[in-house]
């Protein structure tokens, strides 16, 4: 299986294509389909053939291991992977041992040097951005917070990174940064007092988001800050707020899809942290092509051990001291 990789360097020349496997965390979330689209667009321009694979859901390491093994068996040239946790590390090692070029997308591996390079955006930072924005927009008022996370039956990195990032952005002590829900339920955030009214799981979906928000409102009608860990759950939460007549709450979310940005324009979301999955896909393919042609790895961003594809805060209610772009601008970069 090793022999084939050698002759694949002449990509772009119309000879044998370069085979790249793109492994996402799950097959259905729009975040990942956008990444696939980005990669496929880039692939068309450089005689790369992309095969996609995915875990069944964000906790499925076994599915990703199989996908890596299949790529080895197929004799692919490169793997781009958004890993579902350290359980896939062994398989990544085997792939590299087999001479396959491996880049991590979206989520850095632990340790980061397990792969040839990483193109990611920091989910913790994304959380922090919306947290800071919410703290600023509250303008010293007491914060009554609803935390709408992803899952109740599994622990995945995005879930705690975004949630804990948000809290730290608010200026709340997160205690263990890898554990949701261990923070103090009341206390002071950077601008005043806070109370965490509820912490619910949404399955990252609209109906889960709506039910969770409804339950939160049943617990406390005065919720004025709503964190949703992704935009789909945010859509549901916004529905619930609307149905309950709560128009004042600041709803923040993370992703930055076109739907999410539109919600910012319309005002049902206060702010979203925009990430660029299609950008990651595109850059990933380009990095592969470049490596096979020139033998170079992507250069990490300054002060980081990975290439930061960036996070931007999208809001139409800019808060002093926090860099943000308007929803109109965000719409240009949305996916």
């Amino acid at each position: 299986a090793l022999g084939l990789t050698g002759c694949a360097g002449d990509s772009g020349s119309g000879g044998d294509p370069t085979y790249v496997t793109l492994i996402t965390k799950d097959p259905d979330n729009h975040f990942w389909t956008a990444m696939v689209e980005g990669a496929k667009t880039a692939a068309k321009q450089s005689n790369v053939e992309i095969t996609t694979a995915a875990g069944r859901d964000q906790s499925d390491a076994d599915g990703q291991i199989r996908a890596i093994e299949d790529a080895i068996s197929r004799g692919d040239d490169a793997i781009l992977i958004a890993n579902n946790g350290p359980a896939v590390n062994d398989a990544i090692k085997r792939a590299r041992d087999a001479g396959i070029y491996v880049l991590a997308l979206d989520t850095p591996t632990e340790p980061a040097d397990l792969v040839d390079g990483t193109l990611a955006s920091d989910n913790f930072e994304a959380g922090q951005l919306v947290g800071k924005w919410a703290a600023g927009a509250l303008d010293g008022k007491k914060a009554t917070i609803a935390l709408l996370d992803l899952f109740a039956d599994k622990v995945v990195t995005v879930d705690y990174q975004r949630d804990q990032g948000f809290l730290s952005g608010m200026g709340i002590d997160t205690k263990d940064r890898k554990k949701n829900g261990d923070e103090a339920k009341t206390g002071a955030y950077s601008g005043g007092d806070y109370q965490i009214a509820c912490n619910q799981a949404t399955n990252g979906a609209e109906d889960g988001g709506r039910s969770a928000m409804e339950n939160c409102l049943s617990l406390n009608k005065d919720i004025n800050v709503v964190f949703t860990a992704n935009e789909t759950s945010g859509v549901g939460a916004a529905q619930a707020l609307k149905a309950a007549g709560n128009t004042g709450a600041l709803l923040v979310s993370i992703d930055g899809s076109c739907g999410g940005v539109k919600s910012v324009t319309e005002g049902s979301f206060g702010a979203v942290a925009q990430q660029y999955p299609s950008e990651m896909g595109r850059l990933g393919v380009e990095a592969v092509v470049k490596h096979l042609r020139d033998g170079v790895n992507p250069t990490p961003s300054e002060g980081l051990d990975f290439v930061n594809t960036g996070v931007r805060l999208v809001t139409d209610k800019a808060v002093n001291g926090i860099e943000s772009i308007s929803s109109a601008e965000g719409a240009k970069k949305c996916w």
Binding site: H30, G181, A205, E206, R210, S211, T232, V235, G259
Partner: protein, 345 residues
Amino acid sequence: MTTTDTPGMTAAEAFRQRPLTPLQRLQRILHRHPQISPLVVLIAAVIVFGLLNPRFLEPSNISLVLQQVAIIGSLAIGQTLIILTAGIDLSVGAAMILVAMVMGSLAGDAGVPGILAFLVGMLCGAVTGLLNGWLVSTVKLPPFIVTLGTLNLFTALGLLMSGGRSIPGDRLGPLLTWTSTSFSVGPFRLTAGVVLVVLMYLVMGYALSQTAWGRHVYAVGDDAGAARLAGIRTRRVLLSVYVVAGVIFALSAWVLIGRVGAATTNSAADANLDSITAVVIGGTSLFGGRGRLLGTFIGALIVGVFRNGLALARVDVLYQTLAIGVLIIAAVTLDQWIRRTGAQR
């Protein structure tokens, strides 16, 4: 003879009239109407959660529970039909999502008039049912495998059609989002979706208990071979059940669009398991032929009450998962206890 005879009474009559404890009396009453035993479980759950957090009992929260169970509740109607025929449908959630995306793409992306999109959606639901039903009744494959296959098929079709994107409600027009219309009934707030689901329960409950078709559904599920020998067209009955269920899942898609305000592929990840759970907690046997739709309604409510109640009791997320597990077992244990000890008097 060694039995104590009261003059003029047979032994069994004397036995019948022995003194009973109040608990035994209650059991005897419950045993006469075994179908209300899930109701007892529901009431017990409501009381417990009401004590844990009085807000649970507020009309606004009760209204929310109804809205929250609407989707699973309506899927569970079709699931009940299928389980009554000794089948099982793993594709319920995927079929619903597929229909939602078909209606959504037509109305939202292709600009087709709402009513047409709606009708095509219903047709699409019927076709999904027809496919399942044909494979089960005519090709004679096990329903588990058929619907596992179509689960994958429908999921992939829905995603391929939409690329994972949701279509927001404001592009869907008033008809498709009509189910989100909400109105007050006394202190309660209901949505048109909830009313639709209740109506579906009434109509299908009537069809199952009052029509010949309903009897045939039970007979086929009870013993398909015997039903066939008794002259029931089992194939036709099975096919009709799956098609009707398909239409019910299409209507569920309508309810879903109203509830989440968008046509989306993300929702209802656990719809299969949840709908089956509602059916089983409602007292319907997975082996077919035994059960009632009313039980399913209560079963769906029980699960909804558990979820909402635990959230309101401020149980931590991971502990909620744990508690749901324990509560489901407890609910069915209680139900069994009512039925069994009742049966032994």
